[in-house]
Amino acid sequence: MAVSISACHVGPQIKDLDLAHNPEGATVEVQVLASEGQDKLKFEGELLEIRSDGIIISGAAANGSADEVIFVAWSRAGRVKATRFGGYNATIGRSLEWSPETKERFRLISRFPQGISPEMMDSLLVAHRQERLSRFEL
């Protein structure tokens, strides 16, 4: 039985899961849909907040842009994947349909499930040496 138990318990345990032990939110990939004058973009970074009108992450575009805090309106958000929780890969989000249920799942793996107040946003922008939030909206 000892053999069978060890066989079945191979694999990650909670002690190995970075998301549970570190302050960051989950890492997400966000496709930003093309808009007038803007090509389609893909960002990868830390999920900071899920808002009623869009998603906020801290990350860089795949074209090599600098790390920044960005807001993507739901109308511009294509596929969003939360694929990495520290040491392990898992796809819990791959939604194009932003139902309340989907948003809630993402909210709870964000760094700020409680929401980012204006004062907190100011501090975040200072930390990222940004003057203002980069916005992707229609």
Partner: protein, 512 residues
């Protein structure tokens, strides 16, 4: 003193790896917690402070007297200047979540090494679990939605995930298409891993029932018993000979006399068996009483209060605890079917609890009788069942089953083409529903000139939401699977069994 409420979320993250059995899941069970009430969480916790700081408690926290205590590390909003803390005032906290890792029996079952055999056997025992209410399924066979089934009603934690099969009462199939409404009508989160329809075609004079292993069995004629009595020799024929809604239940006098030395009911039936009858089988139409719900709600959850969160999310997924609970449950709950042979009743099979909401039909194929009569005994914990029909079927045989996956899915808001993929296999993707949510799913069953019967096969689990009235300081009793726990359940159940079903129905959540 003003009480501040905050949301304490349980985030369940499951990651289990053996070759193909990789499962990843993030789950949330929100609970409103009074800041004045003690809570002990032994798994990692993250606290999000009002000023944007984050505090990580890898070993969990103890929450009482307006404070969160534990070995924590605090990070500012820039994730710099981290420092260790032992205590945070609840007033500074905007939200918290606890991380827990359940183990998936389903995922473990995917492993095929010889070394897992013992684990799987005990895992199967543990699958005889317990229920609150679970997903309900309705068909629109007529103008009124008809309750067809309640799914995996015994799976109250991730490690209790199990496959279930229910017979559907559909009479008509419109344009080769079957539509079912899957609802979450209680304060629970449902995790539905797989749904599929099983179709069995048969002759016009045959009827199909699922056996205790989930295989459809075809039978010919069914025969009423020639006698049916309870353990006090009371005639119960009028209650069990026809599926007419007049059902057997224990008498109030019986419930008043339940004791640790006498807490099982037994019902005895005798059937005349015709010659040239082929295989014989026992057919039952029944559903559970509310006893199991009292056991889960009032004894397992309410008595543990806050500790029930760790119990469901952590303790039950520990191998030893799961095995102990599974064995205890198997020994005490469900229904044992025995047949008279060689001078005594001998166990012929067991039927797991089916849930208290939808009527369930089950069949058990029996060995050939010694003579022209068969004597059958059903035994179970007092009043655990409502029994509408007990009959003997002849010419029992297995039929050929066709499996039909979910073709379409629609929520009240929109078409959901992604959901059929989630439900196609018992794998790493779940349809998750919360109270009040429903999904209409469609199956392309095609046309058939032959009579056919449909079954709904399902796999998943659900988690109860802790009710605020369960979270009080006086309820702090750790659940132990013992006769004493069963006695407490029976005592509480006996006090309210006449009105409990109505109360239970009244707390259903309206589905949108």
């Amino acid at each position: 003193m003003i009480r501040k409420l905050f949301s304490c979320s349980i985030v369940l993250v499951l990651t289990l790896v053996i070759a193909s059995c990789i499962v990843h899941r993030v789950d949330i069970v929100p609970v409103d917690v009074s800041a004045q009430t003690p809570i002990l969480l032994s798994s990692p916790v993250k606290a999000h402070l009002i000023d944007g700081s984050t505090v990580v408690f890898p070993e969990g926290v103890n929450i009482y007297d307006g404070k969160v205590q534990g070995k924590g590390e605090r990070f500012d909003i820039a994730l710099e200047n981290n420092r260790f803390v032992d205590e945070i005032a609840l007033d500074d906290i905007a939200a918290m979540e606890s991380f827990q890792t359940p183990v998936s029996t389903g995922a473990t079952a995917a492993a095929s090494t010889a070394g897992t055999a013992g684990w799987l056997a005990l895992g199967a025992l543990a699958a005889f679990a317990l229920f609150g209410s679970c997903p309900t399924v309705y068909s629109g066979d007529s103008d009124v939605a008809l309750l067809e089934a309640e799914l995996f009603s015994y799976s109250i934690a991730p490690s209790f995930q199990a496959r279930d099969i229910d017979k559907l009462g559909l009479r008509h199939v419109q344009d080769g298409y079957v539509e079912l409404d899957v609802r979450n009508e209680m304060l629970e989160t449902h995790y539905i891993d797989q749904l599929e329809v099983l179709e069995i075609t048969h002759a016009a004079d045959q009827v199909a029932y699922p056996d205790s292993d989930g295989h459809p069995i075809l039978v010919g004629t069914t025969i009423e018993p020639v006698s049916a009595v309870d353990q006090y020799d009371r005639d119960i024929m009028s209650e069990v000979t026809a599926a007419d809604g007049q059902v057997w239940s224990a008498t109030s006098n019986r419930m008043a006399n339940v004791s640790p030395d006498d807490y099982h009911d037994s019902l005895d039936f005798e059937f005349n068996v015709p010659q040239n009858r082929g295989e014989i089988a026992l057919v039952l139409k029944m559903r559970n009483s509310m006893l199991n719900t009292v056991l889960l709600y009032d004894v397992m959850l309410k008595e543990q209060s806050f500790a029930a969160l760790d119990w469901m999310g952590h303790d039950l997924n520990h191998f030893g605890n799961r095995a102990e609970m599974g064995l205890w449950y198997r020994e005490n709950m469900g229904m044992t079917i025995s047949v008279w042979r060689d001078g005594r009743f001998r166990k012929a099979g067991q039927i797991a609890d089916q849930g208290p909401i939808a009527w369930s039909e089950r069949i058990l194929v029996l060995d050939a009788p010694e003579g022209n009569t068969v004597r059958v005994r059903l035994s179970f914990v007092a009043d655990n069942w409502r029994i509408d029909q007990v009959a003997l079927a002849i010419d029992a045989q297995r039929g050929k089953v066709r499996t039909i996956p979910v073709t379409t899915a629609q929520t009240p808001e929109m078409a959901r083409p992604d959901i059929p993929g989630f439900l196609a296999h018992a794998d790493d993707t779940y349809l998750i529903t919360r109270p009040g949510e429903s999904v209409q799913i469609g199956f392309d069953v095609g046309e058939s000139k032959q009579p056919r019967t449909f079954f709904l096969a399902s796999e998943g689990y659900y988690m109860e939401w802790m009710r605020s009235e369960w979270l009080t300081e006086e309820h702090r009793r750790k659940f132990e699977p013992t006769v004493d726990a069963l006695m407490r359940s029976l005592e509480l159940y006996a006090q309210k069994r006449d009105t409990y079903r109505d109360q239970f129905e009244s707390i259903k959540v309206s589905v949108r």
